[in-house]
């Protein structure tokens, strides 16, 4: 097998992995702060992808511009979901929260099925077929732009948590629920804000992902599982870990598709998940629980 092919496949895997990373970052941020596992995460991703498809079909809006309205809409949606539905559940047992988000996910998948039907949809823009070449190494334009957007969105989120007062307050809520309450933070509002931010992350990732793959309603649960695998591998609650996990899974999927069978690719992701859970359950970059 020519080495150029392997290098090209790895590069495509890294670039796709960064978009995966942004999707998983949303899940990780929500879990890290609210301590609720968003079982509807992949379903939200597919909704964002469909939203981009619709905006493109009706207004010829480029997916890179769709990031703004879709991201904003998802922020509001996530905020409302946490404030209205999930906040009453934060003191309930885990399985109860799980059932709540599962119900939301079932409604989302099948709502999409009702509206769009089971067939795959995509967007077609001219730069999807172009690429940058450095010697024999090719970089797909769409992938490069998508991953750059994912990295920019992740960096913005890092900066928000690191440097703003609101970000600091959210971190305080994550570190110590009771302590944050005692110093007078409105914890539930910050939870809602966090869920909104996590949803915006997954929305941006969805806008980018539609440039790389076709979307159908059944992708939702698959993306949920993928996001879980990524955050567990990287470290649940660790922001850098989510990106690292995304890249690792992106590359392992790409290589499995090249060397074995494309249909077996997620088997490697799950094998990696089992290994990480057993050898380093807090994830590669996670803190000891």
């Amino acid at each position: 097998m020519p080495i150029e092919l392997v290098v090209n496949v790895v590069i495509a895997g890294v670039l796709t992995g960064l978009v995966y990373g942004l999707m998983a970052l949303g899940l990780s941020v929500i879990f890290g702060v609210v301590r609720v596992v968003n079982f509807a995460h992949g379903e939200m991703m597919t909704i964002a992808m469909y939203a981009t498809v619709v905006l493109f079909a009706s207004l010829q809006l480029d997916p890179f511009l769709a990031v703004v309205p879709v991201g904003a809409a998802f922020f509001v949606f996530g905020y409302a979901l946490q404030a209205g539905l999930i906040n009453p559940f934060i003191t309930r047992p885990e399985h109860s929260q799980f059932m709540l988000l599962l119900a939301v996910a079932i409604v989302m998948v099948n709502g999409l099925l009702m509206v769009f039907g089971p067939d795959a949809r995509n967007v077609q823009v001219d730069y999807q077929l172009e690429s940058y070449a450095i010697g024999p190494i090719l970089f797909d334009k769409a992938r490069v732009y998508a991953s750059a957007t994912a990295v920019a969105a992740s960096a913005a989120l890092f900066a928000f948590f690191k440097f703003t007062r609101t970000g600091k307050a959210i971190r305080a809520c994550a570190d110590n629920y009771l302590g944050a309450k005692v110093v007078g933070l409105n914890v539930r509002r910050y939870y809602a804000l966090t869920f909104g931010l996590g949803s915006a992350c997954v929305a941006v990732a969805g806008c980018m992902m539609i440039l790389l793959v076709d979307v159908s309603p059944v992708l939702g649960p698959a993306y949920t599982l993928l996001a879980f695998v990524i955050v567990i591998v990287g470290g649940l609650g660790s922001m850098a870990g989510a990106l690292l996990g995304g890249v690792l899974i992106g590359v392992s999927e790409a290589l499995a598709g090249l060397f074995i069978q494309p249909s077996a690719k997620s088997m490697f992701s799950f094998a990696l998940l089992i290994l990480v859970l057993l050898l380093r359950p807090q994830g590669l970059l996670g803190r000891k629980p």
Binding site: E94, L102, I106, V109, M114, Q261, I274, P281
Partner: protein, 325 residues
Amino acid sequence: MNRRAAVLLAVLAAMLVALPAVASSYVLSVATLILFFAFTGQAWNVMMGFAGQLSLGHSLYVGVAAYAVAGLFFHFGIGPWAGVWLAILLCVALGATIGFLAFRFGISGVYFALLTIAFAEFTRIGFDHLDWLGGPGGLFIKVEQREYSDLLNLRGPPQMFYYVMLALAAAAFALCAWLLRSRAGYYWQAIREDEQAAQALGINTFRWKMLAVMLSSALTALAGVFFAFYYNNLFPEHIFHISRSIEIILGPVIGGVGTLFGPILGAAVLTILADSITELLAALGIEIPGVKQVFYGVVLLVVVMFLPHGIWPALARKLGLEERR
């Protein structure tokens, strides 16, 4: 259990035994399905409801057991009377592996749930590439319509399958009722409520959690054996899918986690609800894919929000059948 509950239970049992004499074949198939989910729900409840270990991968045991008996029958003509032992053995070994790895490495809560999903998904994709057992194209067992019941080979009329499932569900119910009052049951509940406190009292939590996982997987294996010979076709995409695992846990969660009647009530409510929605939509002439599931999701949402402990505890209070939890 008080006297009133005992009388009601006896009436329910009598009705279930008499059902095939009066029911149409459609009603009988729905009843068989309810009993199937009551049984698998009861099996899952041993792990989650009693011992507090959340499994989201029970489709693994149904699938492996079904493929084990179906594979033996398909390739070697060995009937389920022998295959069932292999199925139980495999599932207990798998459950023990998952339990051992998780509990030894201190994996609990969400992480444990994700580990169970990972094993089920891993196996699903593995079976997709296992051509000896049909791969993604599925494994089919020869369908035989027999008028008489051949229990050892699980061949016979629908009534036989109904009674097999009824016997399994009743046995699981009795077993769970006994377990809850046994030493193991009390240890499990102690672990469920507070694992550290249980450990401090001298309970070997590792051993008792292992017992819960192995028992739950063995019971679920029986459901898998039944599944293989009731439906006669197996697809990895179908049987190992995470939505199968979710179907298994919906009943007990809706009915009431950790209760004895919860899994039965939940299975009945959900199956009847799903079927009525199908009938209603057919009657209205609505044929949009997904409508039924959306409705299902909304009902689930409402139950989870307003009846956090499930339907059974609320109903039991109303009927004066207070079950000690």
